[in-house]
């Protein structure tokens, strides 16, 4: 009995320590960012004024020129996904412990993609703008980088979950490395490959709307320009187009995923 009480006591103590820690972190953050509820509540008036008077209603007449920008965003997202998935496919076979030709290659590829992944796409865009200049090239390239970083990791994880018994069965027939990859590993890997690539397309569309803000072209650039020129009704129109694009990609990819898997 005494032991059970002790366990409950330490558990409760643990919970309290974690709670105090989280509260402490929050207070520390609030102080560090000069956060005050007064400012937030007094800001509510300003925000609603801005939203209802400046942003709304959206300027529908601007939709023509914005349409080009949103299509550009779609193109960048799609091209980024296809090229990124192609490169990630090769890299992931090198990065997965089940398929890598050598452990050293595995570590190098994992480290390389970890660096790409852990630097946000927008920062890649910022760095790339310095060498390629403003435009869709920067947007597409940073989306490709982002896709490689994300997809290599999830593809490699998928490859590592593959049933090794089936691979053993192909070894037993005397097949060689490439035959086993193509005939044994790839068919098992295909559903994950398709599902993750489609999810990556969603991520890319989201990312490509914002990459424009640092000079990557597309709708992000239009939003940034609209704000700088105080054309807020155009901005809200652009945001609506972004909403439509993101929701329809989500809808379409979920339909395709359902059919294929």
């Amino acid at each position: 009995m005494g032991e059970i009480k002790d366990i409950r006591k330490t558990k409760r103590l643990q919970t309290i320590v974690i709670l105090v820690f989280v509260c402490g972190l929050t207070v520390w953050s609030a102080i560090g960012t000069d956060f005050s509820f007064y400012e937030v509540f007094s800001g509510i008036g300003l925000i609603s004024n801005f939203v209802f008077l400046d942003l709304l209603p959206p300027d529908v007449s601007a939709s023509n020129s914005l349409l080009d920008a949103i299509l550009e965003t779609l193109y960048m997202g799609f091209v980024g996904m296809v090229i990124g998935a192609g490169i990630a496919l090769v890299l992931s076979f090198l990065a997965a412990s089940t398929t890598t030709p050598h452990p050293v290659i595995q570590v190098v590829v994992r480290a390389f993609t970890s660096i790409i992944r852990n630097i946000p796409g927008l920062i890649w865009a910022l760095i790339l703008v310095a060498s390629y200049g403003i435009g869709v090239t920067v947007g597409t390239l940073s989306l490709i980088l982002g896709s490689i970083g994300f997809l290599t990791r999830v593809f490699a994880d998928t490859l590592e979950e593959i049933d090794t018994g089936k691979i053993e069965a192909l070894h037993a027939t005397g097949s060689n490395y490439f035959q086993i990859l193509a005939q044994g590993v790839f068919p098992q890997f295909l559903p994950g490959f398709v599902a993750w690539s489609l999810y990556n397309l969603e991520l890319n569309i989201r990312a490509s709307t914002i990459i424009g803000m640092v000079g990557g072209g597309g709708i992000g650039f239009a939003i940034q320009k609209g704000i700088k020129l105080f054309q807020y009704k155009e901005v809200s129109m652009a945001i609506i187009l972004v909403l439509i694009l993101i929701l329809s990609t989500e809808f379409l990819t979920s339909k395709i995923r359902e059919r294929i898997i």
């Binding site: 018994g165 037993a172 027939t173 097949s175 060689n176 035959q179 193509a182 044994g184 068919p187």
Partner: protein, 256 residues
Amino acid sequence: MEPVLKIEHLTKVYPDGTVALSNTSFDVHPGEFVVVIGSSGAGKSTLLRCINLLVEPTEGDVIFKGEKVNQSKSKQVKHIRREIGMVFQNFNLIDRLSVLNNVLHGRLGYTNTIKGSLGIFNKKDIKEAEAILERVGLKQQKYKRADELSGGQMQRVGISRALAQMPRLILADEPIASLDPASSKNIMDHIYNICQEDQLTAIVNLHQVDVALKYATRIIGMQHGQIIFDGHPSQLSDKVIDEIYDTKKPPLVNAQ
């Protein structure tokens, strides 16, 4: 008659220290239907996998058709594996590929890298694969996806894949452990009859003694990685069976 397979002083110690096989030796002659029995963990699977080098033995030799398997280069190992068909407990078919394609995987060892990777097989191989499927009664199912089949049907595809290799030797690792009694009988009949008709040699791991007694021409009993019985099924007494399956009792034979 020259033995098709010689196992000499085979020992396998896994990196974690588990001794799966210790100093095992026996010969297998052409046409034999050897059944290996023993409780789980007795080293049956390791023994089978050492024969086609899916597991690298720590010590000892595996000699197949006069060639030392465990000292071959990787290319030779692949050539030897082609002649040894293997059937698995979990069938190990590639789910999303067709039945025919799974059977053709047995021909990968004879196909060049690029064609094999792309799944392009020559007409002769396809004809043969179809003939094998007809033999096991699955011709109608050849274009179905492997995961649409029942367990018994999947195992028949597994057997077909092994047969497509044109093997000299069949290794079957608990081929009926995942099946219901009716399919189990069907699968054992298939393996036995095919080996008889094609004059193949077979080594089958089982843990049901009654099934072993029914099919085997020779039974090997294993315990703790060692062979404690090797002989004709009629010699297998209840006392020996108890000894093979009762891991708690100290071995009576060595008590002196």
